[in-house]
Amino acid sequence: MSVARVAGGEANRPARSARRLIRAAALNGAGAAIALVTLVPIGWMLSTSFKPGREIFSLTPHPLPAHPTLANFRAVISGGVIGHPFWVFLANSLLVTVTAVAASSTLALLAAIAVARFRFRFRSTYLIMLLVVQMLPQQALVIALFIDFRATGLLDSLAGLFLAYTAFALPISIWMLRSFVAAVPKEMEEAAAIDGAGPVRVFWRILFPLTAPGLVATSVFSFIYAWNEFTFALTFLGTDQAKYTLPIYVTYFFNKGGADWGAIMAASALYTIPPIVFFLLVQRRMARGLVAGAVKG
């Protein structure tokens, strides 16, 4: 900008600053419009979930409920349609997601150290395999996994989902973590080792704290993956409703709830809020990890 201003000369300054103001206003206006359009579906879900029935089906929809009510949430939490209270499904989802994230982050950290800190045979092959495996369609593999899980008694069980989520969160976790491990200066580890710190100590005192932000970003990523996962849950959790995770519960509610959009929106709001809050907490690092994961910028 400064070069342009010098080229324009002093006399043009007021006109230029006016044009700059207009441009800034237009850019910010466009930004606000995009934010608004993006938020409309989420906002509409929240607003509908607080509306009483007659407002939901009113001929002229209003963005905000005129008489907000918690009736929809009460109906969902008591679980009228499905016969189990909401907490059962929340607990199932939390259990599967948290254990899978912990397991896959641990395995991924070990693998990421190997990839970031060592040069070994097959290293490039391994990295290429990571990229390829990430792209295998779950909706294809689910057919073979279903047959395996049936043979090993892992259908209708949260343990089966835990295993599947742990495995399928691995490639992207390793891929993301390796750039965080590589960013830790080797010299720090070497200095600690020279000072007599054992390898375990070096890991806990240096490598682990310094990769912790990356571990958090990766965990959020795999949390969102496992929390949102639908295909495996749909296929593996068949008849035992007490084992349903939240996405299956929301789908069930959606099918059996008729056109009770207030309750359906309340159910999906309760399901949507955890990943969104989680994401907002670590938003900055998340965006960085997201880019590091798929496109090394």
Binding site: G31, T48, Q139, A140, F230
Partner: protein
């Protein structure tokens, strides 16, 4: 000496993994042997670190992928699943049945047309937002990218259910808004109570809007990260030379970001071609056969009564092979960007 700490840590793990001599402290071996042992451990270290994740991924990803290939050449249905009959080799029967099946060609067409529509739209929307984010002040850029990424973090099932409600013929806000539009914009009362789920075109229109909404934030953030690497002096120089923003984009930004765009295009194709959860719900949970895409068709063949896992596996294999062909391009583009360093 590279990362002695990690190497030694891994080395210790390695030692534990191999059967060591029983008893407490072994006698200190001579220095030469120790050095050799250390070297061997160091060489083994990366493999030992990789072992747990390889075992899990091998068992739950690679092995099922192999089985998928096997099943696709077999006659595998309910009796085989129950163990009442052994699976029989069927040669190419599954594949020839698929190629003769008009539903397969319809599903393939749906998948292709959908990818052709949604991938450019997502890229275009994402790139525009990325360019905008790059020019906004920091607080506004953070705000816009945060809201955009909320759409990305929203679970597919929630997003689909929300869009069902937005596009509902009965009280949905989209039909209401379209009915209120002036005629010259295509609005009018014929939109009142319009059902979006009865035919392929409306269903895929909703699916397109939904996937653009969920997909553009990732593109925007990636493009923004790429834009940050474009040297500001280049754009500055172009502006001084009187190059407009449109020409500046095509002459400077686009050529520099071409690898990023290539990767994003290929990723979007891979993600959208056989898209499952959203399409599964929107097409009536395997209800409307003429609205199937390839992912749903494979799933339906395997899991609706009577289940034919062989046919489903063959279809899934076709889907996987198509995606792998695109993945080859993706991997090559990533390597060219230095992804393996």
């Amino acid at each position: 000496m590279t990362s002695a700490g990690v190497a030694r840590r891994a080395g210790r793990n390695g030692q534990a993994a191999r059967p060591g001599p029983p008893g407490a402290l072994p006698a200190r071996p001579p220095a030469g042997t120790r050095a050799v042992a250390w070297l061997r451990r160091r060489r083994l270290a990366p493999y030992l670190l990789l072992l747990p994740s390889l075992a899990v991924a091998g068992l739950l990803i690679a092995w099922p992928a192999v089985q998928l290939g096997v099943f696709s050449f077999q006659n595998y249905g309910l009796p085989q699943l129950a163990g009442a009959q052994p699976a029989q080799w069927a040669g190419l029967a599954n594949f020839s049945a698929i190629l003769k099946d008009p539903e397969f060609w319809l599903a393939l067409r749906n998948s292709c047309l959908f990818a052709v529509a949604v991938v450019p739209l997502t890229l275009l929307a994402g790139t525009c937002v990325g360019l905008l984010l790059n020019r906004l002040g920091k607080p506004m850029a953070t705000f816009v990218s945060t809201t955009a990424l909320l759409a990305w973090a929203t679970p597919a099932i929630s997003a689909t259910v929300i869009f069902f409600w937005l596009f509902s013929p009965d009280g949905g806000v989209v039909d209401w808004a379209l009915a209120g539009l002036p005629h010259w914009l295509g609005g009018g009362s014929h939109w009142t109570g319009f059902s979006w789920t009865n035919a392929s075109l409306p269903v895929y229109t909703v699916l397109t809007v939904l996937l653009v909404w969920q997909g553009f934030p990732f593109i925007a953030v990636s493009v923004l990260a790429g834009l940050r690497t474009v040297p500001a002096e280049l754009l500055e120089a172009a502006r001084v030379d009187g190059t407009g923003p449109w020409r500046g984009f095509w002459k400077i930004t686009y050529p520099l970001l071409k690898p990023v765009f290539l990767v994003l295009t290929l990723l979007s194709i891979i993600w959208d071609f056989g898209v499952f959860p959203q399409a599964y719900l929107l097409t009536g949970e395997l209800g409307n056969r003429d609205e199937y895409n390839l992912g749903i068709y494979a799933y339906a063949k395997a899991f609706t009564m009577p289940p034919s896992y062989g046919l489903g596996a063959a279809l899934a294999l076709i889907l996987t092979v198509i995606l792998l062909i695109i993945t080859v391009g993706y991997v090559r583009a990533s390597i060219r960007q230095g992804a393996l360093q």
